[in-house]
């Protein structure tokens, strides 16, 4: 097992990492060559994030060696990693929004001119140079960071890393918050950086992207490295990769079942907000209505306007032919309208609370006994019964109702969030990007839950910018572009290409 380690920029040998109750990495070994793009894939909880954190010095491995450019290193913290030339591009970009692009790029440079003042001119040229490396030539360095798109901010971080002599870039699901065009831009930039000899590790749930850009694909499962696929000569097949990731055969990504469709439950008429215009649609019991639009189309604002988080300028909402006027989500919940937001970490979950409390929080009125609404005692026994039934139904892993929700993987967090809709009599469930940022296996499970809700006679509103998900799951689709409905169709009369075409108008 003697390897020539000279052309390897990073070698990991037998890395172990244990957390209380879980072993996240079980003897993972990697060789990464200079200038290659390595795709790292695996389900949630497979150990991808842990591995990245070990490389970046956020976590220390319990056992194992890290060899960087031929020398064994102990990476103490991210600063140390950066000094070595290892940089991390996170999923959610943490940059101060109120500084300019130039300031963001040159933070930490301390380029000083006369009288110890910052040499603006030099910094400006430096910033321009860095921007052109990542193809952001059209961005004005005096622009505020807050005015840039997520994608541009990500590239800004990359530019900054390159400017600080990065040799290895680690991307942690950089495209999960981007639209198709922006994602492509980022991938192109990765190819460009590869030509400059920069080594890159790319983690993504979007298998197609990994296949399109990676030289080698490494598959993790349950903390083991289960496969290394050469993707340079011949492109790998997505099915093949997914099979390795989940070790079971999923034929149906979209477990759509045609159900008998009932009466109209939700009717929205001429909804208008700051960004939306004249949105009208209806949902029937047992029906899945897909609302499709690209990023910036305004799709995510539709459910928020209906339940009263975003103010409505005009518009009428009817539930079962009765006019309703929700001023807050609590009114909507009382009427049987549940909203599962797209940003589960900020708007969905209570990270400090255990899974069981996250599940029942919207329906405590059902589990109470007593006189008044707020001061009544929670019937923990019936609550527990419901929770354990739901945990079994959604296949929560690990099936521990008392574990704090922040210690679950993304897919399991999403299952908890969706099971909220099962705790009370619900008429309509609006799900915004229910499968974003979770692994393939969990995506299918979440979609099955949607079908399950429809089976109970619920009307489902599925809001997504994933055209395959919309096409694969919906009965009817409306397409939104620039805040307006541009197309409405039954799913039999359309195809994914057509939907995309309308959405990008």
């Amino acid at each position: 097992m003697e390897l020539n380690k000279d052309d390897k920029i990073l070698v990991l040998e037998d890395i172990w990492k244990r957390f209380p109750g879980v072993i996240a990495l079980k003897g993972v070994s990697l060789n990464i060559e200079k200038g290659e793009i390595v795709g790292l894939v695996g389900e949630n909880g497979a150990g991808k994030s842990t591995l990245l954190k070990v490389i970046y010095g956020i976590l220390k491995p319990d056992n194992g060696k890290i060899i960087w450019k031929g020398k064994e290193v102990h990476i103490d913290n991210p600063l140390h990693a950066m000094a070595l030339g290892i940089f991390y591009v996170p999923q959610e970009i943490v940059l101060p929004l109120n500084i300019t692009v130039m300031e963001a790029l040159t933070l930490g440079y301390h380029v000083k001119g006369y009288f110890n003042l910052v040499d603006k001119k030099y910094m400006m040229s430096l910033a321009k140079e860095m921007l052109s490396v990542v193809g952001l030539d059209n961005v004005d360095p005096n622009e505020k960071v807050g005015n840039l798109s997520t994608a541009s901010r990500q590239l800004l971080l990359v530019a900054r890393a390159i400017g600080m002599n990065a040799e290895l870039l680690i991307y942690d699901e950089p495209t999960s918050t981007l639209g198709p065009k922006e994602a492509e831009h980022l991938l192109n930039n990765m190819r460009r950086l590869k030509n400059r000899g920069i080594t890159q590790i790319f983690v993504s749930h979007r298998i197609e992207e990994v296949i399109s850009v990676a030289d080698r694909i490494i598959v993790l499962r349950d903390g083991y490295k289960v496969a290394e696929i050469d993707n340079k000569e011949k492109k790998a097949q997505p099915e093949e990769v997914i099979k390795l990731m989940i070790a079971r055969d999923i034929k149906e990504f979209y477990p759509k079942v045609k159900l008998s469709i009932g009466n109209e439950i939700l009717l929205v008429k001429n909804l208008k907000t700051k960004t939306l215009n004249d949105i009208s649609f209806s949902v029937r019991g047992g029906e899945i209505l897909g609302i499709f639009g690209l990023l910036g189309s305004g799709i995510y604002e539709i459910p928020k306007a209906i339940i009263g988080i975003v103010p409505r300028i005009r518009g009428e909402i009817f539930m079962e032919n009765k006019r309703v006027d929700f001023k807050s989500p609590s009114e909507a919940v009382k009427h049987g309208l549940v909203y599962i937001p797209e940003d589960r970490r900020v708007m969905g979950l209570f990270p400090l609370l255990p899974a069981k409390h996250n599940i029942t929080i919207s329906s405590l009125d059902i589990f109470r006994k007593g006189l008044t609404r707020l001061l009544s005692i929670i019937n923990t026994k019936s609550e527990y019964n419901t929770v354990s039934k739901l945990i079994k139904m959604v296949n929560l892993n690990p099936p521990e109702p008392d574990r704090k929700i922040m210690y679950f993987s993304g897919g399991n967090q999403q299952k908890v969030l969706i099971s909220r809709a099962f705790t009370r009599p619900v008429k309509v469930v609006m799900l915004s990007e229910p499968t974003v940022g979770i692994d393939v296996g969990a995506k299918v499970e979440v979609r099955k839950l949607m079908i399950e809700l429809a089976r109970y006679g619920c009307g489902i509103v599925l809001i997504s910018n994933d055209v395959h998900e919309i096409y694969g799951m919906s009965d009817r689709v409306i397409v939104i572009s620039k805040g307006r409905i541009v197309y409405e169709t039954s799913v039999e009369d359309t195809n994914a290409e057509q939907l995309l075409l309308f959405a990008s108008r």
């Binding site: 807050s328 989500p329 609590s330 969905g348 209570f350 990270p351 405590l364 707020l374």
Partner: protein, 332 residues
């Protein structure tokens, strides 16, 4: 196989001492016991029943204020007005009994109603500006205003003079050990019950964990937060009346500065100042620790003027331990 066993052991030995840090309640309890032993060793008078009566009188007030404060801290807010609320309540209570010759229970209820109104006012301002602001911003400002305002009213009522309660039969129960013990016990049970078992309790933890997620989940965030502020004011006013009973008078400075002890009691024993964590047990243990420290400083022959320094030291140590705990466990 061999390797995994070895490291299993490693991780166990590593976590054993950390359990103390993991549970701030346990840590505080150990600090209470340890300090008691040390103080008792230096000055055996510490263990005399009469001394414990003194400690318990301190403790009763701190514990009541801290339990109310814990409610507001759990929702992610802060109540800086509890000291002034207590002072004002002692004045109103004494005024109603002495000047108006009301019965004790009448004065008790009216004083409490005034506290409820103050709590409602706090809640109204907080709810008006939050969201979009986090709860703590308007909470800090409005209760800071009340800290000054309520004490100002208390001083203004008699131009700063105390109101002596001459008819001590009216406050005999409030001043008796049994009365105090009963009040604190009942308040403790009710507070804990609300926090751990009721709907509004569950709501409060959720709100403190994430206001935005609570709103989206359909929680009545305004009502639940109003409840916390009102509860805090009520317990503060009960504390004030208890103090009035103990010293047989109402006095505008009777609880001045005690909001800080209330917040400290909570923070020491695990009520997170960031919201969403901790309960009345933490508040009670923290109040006990502070009472013992203040008593111990006197018993160990240090001038009572150094009491605040001792309290502050304990607080800083506790908060550092708390932050260590967070960095160790919260972000794995």
């Amino acid at each position: 196989m061999e390797k995994s066993e070895k490291s299993q052991q490693q991780s166990q030995t590593a976590t054993a001492p950390l359990i103390l840090i993991r549970s701030p309640e346990l840590g505080t309890l150990i600090a209470v016991l340890g300090l008691s032993l040390i103080i008792g060793f230096v000055n055996p008078r510490f263990w005399l029943p009469s001394n414990w009566l003194t400690i318990m009188r301190w403790f009763a007030g701190f514990a009541l204020l801290a339990m109310g404060e814990s409610m507001v801290l759990i929702i992610g807010g802060i109540d800086l007005s509890v000291g002034s609320m207590a002072s004002l309540s002692s004045m109103i209570f004494a005024y109603l009994i002495t000047e108006m010759s009301w019965d004790t229970w009448q004065a008790f209820i009216v004083t409490m109603v005034i506290a409820i109104l103050v709590g409602l006012y706090h809640a109204a301002v907080v709810v008006r500006f939050s969201p979009p602001l986090p709860t703590t911003v308007p909470a800090f400002i409005v209760t800071l205003g009340s800290l000054i305002l309520l004490r100002g009213i208390a001083i203004g009522m008699t131009k700063g003079f105390p109101i002596k309660i001459y008819d001590e039969s009216k406050i005999a129960f409030l001043a008796s050990s049994q009365g105090i013990a009963l009040l604190v016990t009942i308040a403790g049970i009710i507070t804990l019950l609300i926090q751990l078992r009721t709907v509004v309790g569950r709501y409060m933890y959720a709100i403190g964990g994430s206001l935005e997620a609570a709103r989206v989940a359909g929680i009545p965030i305004h009502k639940a937060r109003a409840f916390a502020f009102i509860y805090s004011s009520i317990l503060a006013s009960i504390t004030g009346m208890l103090y009035a009973g103990l010293v047989a008078s109402g006095y505008a400075d009777i609880a001045t500065g005690q909001e800080l002890y209330a917040i400290a009691s909570c923070a020491i024993a695990g009520v997170s100042l960031a919201g969403g964590e901790g309960n009345a047990i933490s508040a009670i243990l923290g109040a006990l620790l502070i009472s013992i420290v203040r008593n111990g400083i006197v018993l160990m022959g240090v001038s009572p003027y150094w009491q605040d320094v001792g309290t502050a030291l304990i607080l800083v140590i506790a908060v550092i331990v708390d932050l260590t705990r967070r960095t160790l466990f919260a972000k794995v």
